[in-house]
Symmetry: C3
């Protein structure tokens, strides 16, 4: 999509220095920019490079004020945010050629909104509903009674079990599995054998969630698993049955959340973190990569970084590690 800098500033914020009528049609890195691209700099030392690039215009921090620029610049205290929002506008998908591939198997009782795009070999089961402008990638499976909102984007080979409810503007990457059975069994104390505890609850994914490639989110056992609005989940993440994730939570790759864990709004979770069952992570807490939170533990502290297994405030953990290193070194030197 082609836009003027003025249109971009209206959508994304920032103040224009130079020619606001400059047309831009894509985004790129400084090195790879072509003549109609927008680039960005947050590090003052790279401003010269950005201005010397082939880009049509630059998004930059306030450090560029008062300098001779030679290219139109969109200035902001948050250049990365302005650039992200500009990209949102410039890269907005062109839905004009959405189509339903003839090899897709769509049950007659399923309902498709306007402008829905369905890839080749997709399977849509009875009673499913797909909202306007949503696209579903090749080879994906949409189970019975699944409801997907507007303008969602599912990539290839996604599997969605029956009854999952997905909001608007949700992105699901390739290979993700949504609504699979939770991992619940009851051991017969006489025989040592395991019987499956019923996994017949449901899964609700709210608006603007993004779910990474090959991640898995289980349905509730009897009630719901829920992922709140705006939450972003990376690749190969596991979300177990009955987990409740709040809004605007960020979860990096390969993290696992065990059954009935509660993650409150605004939590940031690093990669490979393990959260045991029935844990509660309070609003705004930050969990460093590879941390582990033992069962039923409550973690609280807005903006506090926790690290290690069992997770503790990072200052405490670093103090412990430093002490141990010192003691071991002292002893080795004896």
């Amino acid at each position: 999509m082609e836009c003027s800098l003025i249109e971009i500033a209206q959508h994304a914020g920032g103040e224009i220095l130079g020619d606001g009528n400059r047309q831009v049609s894509g985004i790129a890195s400084i090195q790879s920019a072509g003549g109609t691209d927008l680039v960005f700099v947050e590090d003052e030392r790279r401003l010269g490079e950005a201005l010397a690039s082939r880009a049509a215009a630059v998004v930059a921090g306030t450090f560029c004020r008062g300098k001779s620029l030679g290219k139109p610049v969109l200035v902001s205290r948050e250049p990365r945010l302005v650039f992200a929002r500009a990209a949102e506008l410039l890269l907005s998908p062109d839905s004009s050629h959405a189509a339903i591939h003839q090899t897709a198997i769509i049950d007659p009782s399923a309902w498709l909104g306007d402008g829905v795009g369905i890839g080749a070999h997709v399977v849509i089961q009875p009673g499913a509903k797909i909202g306007d402008l949503t696209t579903i990638g090749a080879g994906s499976f949409v189970g019975e009674g699944v409801v997907i909102g507007r303008q969602c984007k599912l990539a290839a080979n996604v599997s969605i079990y029956q009854g999952v409810a997905i909001g608007n503007n949700v992105v699901v990457h390739a290979g993700a599995t949504l609504g699979s059975d939770g991992f619940g069994y009851v051991r017969d104390p006489q025989t040592g054998r395991y019987y499956k505890f019923p996994q017949v609850g449901r899964l609700k994914i709210e608006d603007e969630v993004e779910i990474g490639a090959n991640s898995t989110v289980d349905r509730g056992a009897l009630d719901w698993t829920r992922i709140g609005r705006g939450t972003k989940i990376d690749n190969l993440v596991h979300v177990a049955h009955n987990v409740q994730i709040g809004e605007d939570v960020v979860i990096a790759a390969q993290t696992g959340l065990s059954g009935s864990a509660v993650i409150e709004d605004g939590v940031i979770i690093g990669g490979q973190v393990g959260i045991a069952d029935h844990v509660r992570v309070g609003s705004g807490a930050i969990l460093g990569a590879q941390s582990g939170i033992p069962t039923k533990k409550v973690i609280r502290g807005k903006g506090v970084v926790f690290w290690g297994t069992p997770a503790r405030p990072i200052r405490q953990l670093l103090r412990e590690l430093a002490l141990l290193a010192r003691l071991a070194k002292r002893q080795a030197n004896h």
Copy 2:
């Protein structure tokens, strides 16, 4: 399926208090129960809530004896087990409309039992055998010569490489990969390049195993990888070549078992555990989440919990952690 409480007790155990002819057709949580559902309570404090719910009947612990109940109750010292087994009966799949979708590609040399259900876009290669009443979800791939037993349930987009052998009543969740090549290479000391060690063994999965979404189980290099009867594996678990897993083992999400590891019967493994190559975990041992067992190590102790990396008895690990915290705190206070 609709059953009387008497029929449920016959299948699932428990003693009926009240009207044994009460008909039940589903299971639910206390909050979501409808008028024909069975619910369960293991916590005495929630008994009142269960009895006041819309449920047709309740499974409860022995604490309900001698109380005025107002609803038929199935009493047991193992209410969770009785409920699980009741659910097994009530939710038993209706195979009467199993069908073979016309878009499935089934090699003429493959053999399908009675009542087999094959989803859309499934691919079944030459010589495969699918037992009676087994269902295979849309988009799944069943390689050459794969043998699958009776009453198995494979979800969507499962990939099974050639020659894998699967028993009866096995459940495989969406996106799982079974029988992929193990990770074995030989480095040429002259050039530093890696050559693939042949991965031409096979994979055997015994009866009543369940394998979670997007998990991967590799075939043996030259011999077999084996998963024993009744073993339950969660999502995103990795089982490497030549691993031998016994019966009734439980493995939580994101755990990884390296090549030739041996897991004896009845072991319980938490999430994100890492087990190195050639490790042996003795019968009935319990490995806490995120533990790590170094290469060739033998872990023994029925019912003993091991934790940490390298894994040690949990009491020892907790003592070490407590001591370190105390020393670091003392020093910080100086």
Copy 3:
């Protein structure tokens, strides 16, 4: 493929003791060998067993010299390497019956080389190019403009996003996702909401790379993610946006590499290792399983083993663990 020992020695190295005209057509373990198989021994104690097996010939270490053998033997100081290279020759795929399945959806603008095999229900988008003798497994998705080299082997249900570039002789296992969006967002400090940072870079996978089942490799944000020649990646591994992996790197299962990490040539990474963003791991370093490398850290040391989180030289870590265990034990004994 059937070969004489002489032909095998020409391809794989090693010196023939006994009848070099002995024909061999497969490889196997000592236990499972049939009369035309090649087996190998690296442990002298198993030589007798190998010679007594049904195998046609044996690859063995130099310990077999001067012994009475009774079977033709290929001797080498690197018997495992010779065996791997022999298997490469004996198991080389027979491309004579490669075919394009009639249910594959191949855009007319895609280009396919000679002898390409395309499985059932594969989808190939506009502008894709598939090199000679490459095979693509059932249900796989090849996005717009993807370029795949010669003699690659993609298994079932692989998903490749638009624009990914793959070299020659690359193997990709089932369920892997290549070129998915990186995990990049910008938080709006006013609202706490996250906006997606554009993920429009590309992914380049060089010759002879192998990628395990259900692994995920993200495209660059604005520039490239790169996996260098000969690198081997196990199952369920995560490679984030802009990561640069050198040549002949080995990465075991469930390891995660965060954004912009650089892994130099010849690095060996164990399973479940976590590498934070902007880390650099110097050429030839070895990272033990479950290690963690914190953000921006540089690790150097050819042949040095690092372990723990934060990763440190293994001798140092083991000293620390031993000291802590000793102190805790001493205190418990008081």
